[in-house]
């Protein structure tokens, strides 16, 4: 390999990364540089994905968990309730369970395949605990019937929203771009991979800017 070739290869390899870094400073696009980029942590071995995923010998017992690598929580959760809540079936199932394997604070962030002594726990406001009564409900079917019963919710089948920013956007109904199997989950508002997110690192990896509380009023017709 001559120098020219090496340089070309260097440019081909690094230029997209540089571009990605440029994106990430603007807040969205990829997991790199996001709050979920663990590559700077000693326990990650410089890897990003490892805390959650593994290419081999993955946990196949957890549903909705592609190539899952993180130890799951066994906590039982208290779900949100209120006298005026119309949604039913609130539960930590499916995708939200994956989030809570770190965010309920009972399992170390570094408790995944290959780490001998997991010791890094999530802290502060990011630690939701197992009392989710003070957190927005998840796990419920958000459909037209619920919107009608509530009276101040947008109809997820017809209300169109745009998630993400710049060219990394997706537009569709609430049901198509924010719900999962018709349910509201953590990933309705948050994008764990920072793909369709807005805002800089540390601003919650939300899919719609909350300036003007736009994220909230995407669904809440207040």
């Amino acid at each position: 390999m001559n120098t020219q070739h090496l340089l070309e290869r260097f440019v081909r390899t690094l230029a997209p990364l540089l571009l990605v870094l440029a994106w990430s400073t603007a807040g969205a696009g990829t997991i790199t540089g996001s709050a979920h980029d663990f590559s700077t942590k000693a326990w990650s071995g410089g890897r990003i994905c490892v805390a959650c995923h593994t290419p081999h010998k993955a946990d196949t017992t957890t549903t909705d968990a592609p190539l899952w690598n993180h130890k799951n929580s066994t906590a039982t959760y208290t779900m949100y309730s209120s006298a005026t809540l119309n949604a039913t079936g609130l539960a930590v199932g499916g995708r939200s369970k994956l989030c809570l394997s770190c965010h309920d604070g009972t399992v170390a962030v570094d408790n995944f395949g290959g780490v001998a002594t997991p010791s890094t726990f999530i802290t502060a406001a990011n630690n939701l605990g197992n009392n989710l009564g003070d957190d927005h409900p998840v796990g419920f079917a958000y459909n037209t019937a619920l919107a009608t019963a509530d009276g101040s919710l947008e109809d997820p089948a017809t209300k169109t929203v745009t998630i993400g920013t710049g060219t990394t956007t997706k537009t569709g109904t609430i049901a198509s771009v924010m719900l999962f199997a018709g349910k509201m989950e953590c990933s309705t508002c948050h994008d764990v991979h920072n793909t369709f997110t807005v805002g800089a690192a540390g601003t919650g990896m939300v899919k719609i800017s909350n300036a003007g509380s736009a994220l909230c009023i995407a669904c809440h017709k207040k």
């Binding site: 309730s81 710049g166 509380s213």
Partner: protein, 588 residues
């Protein structure tokens, strides 16, 4: 977890300058999109919290808002770590001890605020900075803050001038209080909370200011108030139906509403749900009559009733006491007092004519036998509340042979003689009566006791016994001092119904009237008790024709006798001494 859609393609390896330019373009495009999106959201949300004063973020329309914070919901809600959790609340409880509403007729006992009301008060009691939210380490800066500035929205911790909240609105409450809708009927926009309590949220929707004041329904014509408060005679009341508006002079009668007619203001003509000057019963003003004067001073209502009270010497003294009237006081006033509402029911008053004018509709009273009636059907039944059996009445104005200050007993229709108020009079020989009066007529207290500038006196002022320059609250002059020179004016009150000719010329039922009234200058009042003589005191022989002598003028004769004896139609004799003349007896 990765979304199913393909990852967006990125332009690889753009040489520096082009990349920077494109990046800047993208950034600009993102900004435009974001701004446009937000503008669209605001436009779509014309009736939402976004366009209301409850948007305390930088995009809010009010003067009190953050100069920097862009999130709207954050001032009250947070998606995580909320407290209390229901409603995902993001503000702390103020911990204040509140003074709740109370009145002598309140059945719903308002204790300390609970539930949603407590949440509202975390801003509206003015003790917590508006920007102090649980999810932020430091308070969000708020211009006009930090706490809610003084104004109608800042209720403070004294809630005794506010509509009660946080009480159980039960069927039993509605039944015992009366004139309240059944809680089961509150299925529309006005609702109770999940525990059956009335809260701020029963009337207000913090997210929707479509109706102003965040009301759940418009309060034009008090549509909101009457959802619960169902006053029996309200439908016919002038205070519900009158289209009268402010003529512009004096004080604005409706300073706290935007409505411009009596009908549109309805309840709020007199009441206000918050910051009520009167506190009890949420009256606009603590001084009861001031609530009435706001319109009845000639600036809204056609007639100036206030002027009768403030400009006359003989009045029903509504202005001399405050806070002595209670709606649930006994019909026979135990502690004599008078407020406008002792005679008028503002929830029922109307302009209809009749033997009982609409202005006296829906009022409690006492009938001629001393029994409570509700509502009254006769004017005198109102008067008897204070001028009949009440204790503490002043001494009679005239010291009479048969002293008595219970006017109910004097005119109850059972005595030997009486002005025909509760029944047709006894005397069938009254030739002095002017048409249309006959001995079969009955009359009202108001035929003698009335404003001296009202239509009864030939004036243009309001009707009713509010105020007069002639004591005791007489429509016309009635002089009672001995040696009064007779004139049409001196006894104008009597001459309203009794032809003066009968008294200034010889003849008539008592042919010596002229001698007494004109020559001897003896007032009518010396021989006649104007109301009557009660059955327990007088006799038909001695006290017909309202005879009950003024003992400061008329004294016993040389035989020690002081009496009148009727001896037949137009015939009688007197035993007495008067103006030095000994009647022992004198006959006619």
């Amino acid at each position: 977890m990765r979304d199913a859609s393909p990852a967006p393609s990125r332009n690889p390896a753009l040489p520096g300058q082009v990349g920077r330019a494109k990046g800047a373009l993208r950034h600009a495009a993102r900004l435009v999109l974001a701004v446009a999106g937000f503008a669209a959201a605001v436009a779509l949300a014309a009736t939402s919290v976004v366009s209301s004063k409850h948007n305390l973020s930088i995009s809010g329309p009010g003067a009190v808002k953050s100069p920097s914070e862009t999130e709207i919901c954050i001032f009250c809600h947070a998606p995580h770590n909320a407290s209390p959790s229901a409603g995902l609340w993001n503000r702390r409880n103020s911990g204040s001890t509140y003074v709740p509403y109370t009145s002598s007729t309140a059945k719903g006992v308002a204790g300390q605020p609970t539930g949603a009301s407590l949440l509202c008060l975390s801003c509206h009691d003015g003790t917590i900075a508006l920007g102090e939210v649980l999810s932020r380490g430091t308070a969000i800066p708020v211009a006009g803050g930090p706490a809610m500035p003084a104004g109608p929205g800042r209720l403070g911790t004294d809630l005794s001038d506010d509509h009660p909240v946080s009480f159980a609105y039960t069927a039993a409450l509605a039944a015992s209080r009366g004139e309240l809708a059944s809680p089961a009927a509150l299925t529309g926009r006005v609702r109770l909370d999940a525990t059956g309590q009335l809260q701020c949220t029963s009337c207000h929707d913090a997210h929707d200011n479509t109706n102003g004041k965040f009301l759940v329904v418009p309060n034009i014509a008090s549509a909101l108030c009457v959802t619960c408060h169902q006053k029996g005679s309200w439908a016919a009341s002038s205070h519900r139906n009158s289209g009268a508006s402010w003529k512009g002079a004096g004080t604005n009668p409706w300073p706290h509403t935007a409505e411009t007619t009596v009908a549109a203001n309805a309840c709020e003509n007199c009441h206000r749900p918050h910051t009520a000057g009167g506190r009890k019963w949420l009256l606009n003003y603590a001084s009861e009559e001031t609530n009435c004067y706001a319109c009845h001073d000639g600036n809204v209502a056609a007639k100036n009733v206030q002027g009768e009270f403030t400009g006359k010497t003989s009045i029903h003294p509504v202005g001399s006491t405050t806070d002595v009237h209670a709606p649930n006081e006994p019909a026979v006033a135990g502690t004599r007092h008078v407020e406008c509402v002792d005679c008028h029911n503002p929830h029922a008053s109307n302009g209809s004519a009749g033997t009982l004018p609409g202005s006296l509709a829906g009022v409690r009273g006492v009938n001629r036998t001393g029994t409570e009636v509700n509502p009254v059907t006769k004017e005198y039944e109102i008067c008897f509340r204070c001028h009949g059996d009440s204790p503490g009445k002043p001494a009679p104005r005239t010291r009479r042979q048969l002293p008595d200050n219970n006017i109910r007993l004097q005119v109850d229709g059972t005595g030997p003689s009486f002005h025909p108020i509760t029944a047709v009079g006894r005397n069938t020989n009254v030739p002095s009566l002017l048409a249309p009066w006959t001995t079969s007529s009955t009359m009202g207290c108001g035929d003698c006791h009335n404003n001296n500038s009202g239509p009864g006196a030939g004036g243009t002022g309001p009707k009713g016994p509010h105020g007069s320059t002639y004591a005791p609250l007489l429509e016309r002059q009635y002089l009672t001092a001995d040696r009064t020179t007779e004139s049409p004016a001196a006894y104008a009150l009597c001459y309203k119904c009794h032809n003066r000719n009968a008294f200034v010329t010889e003849g008539g039922a008592f042919r010596f009237h002229k001698k007494h009234v004109v020559d001897e200058r003896t007032p009518c009042n010396v021989c006649h008790a104007p109301h009557g003589v009660g059955s327990a005191l007088g006799t038909t022989t001695n006290n017909s024709k309202l005879i009950n002598f003024d003992t400061t003028v008329v004294t016993p004769n040389s035989s020690g006798l002081l009496k009148f004896e009727s001896t037949g139609t137009s015939r009688g004799r007197c035993y007495l001494r008067c103006h030095g003349d000994n009647h022992n007896p004198e006959s006619y």
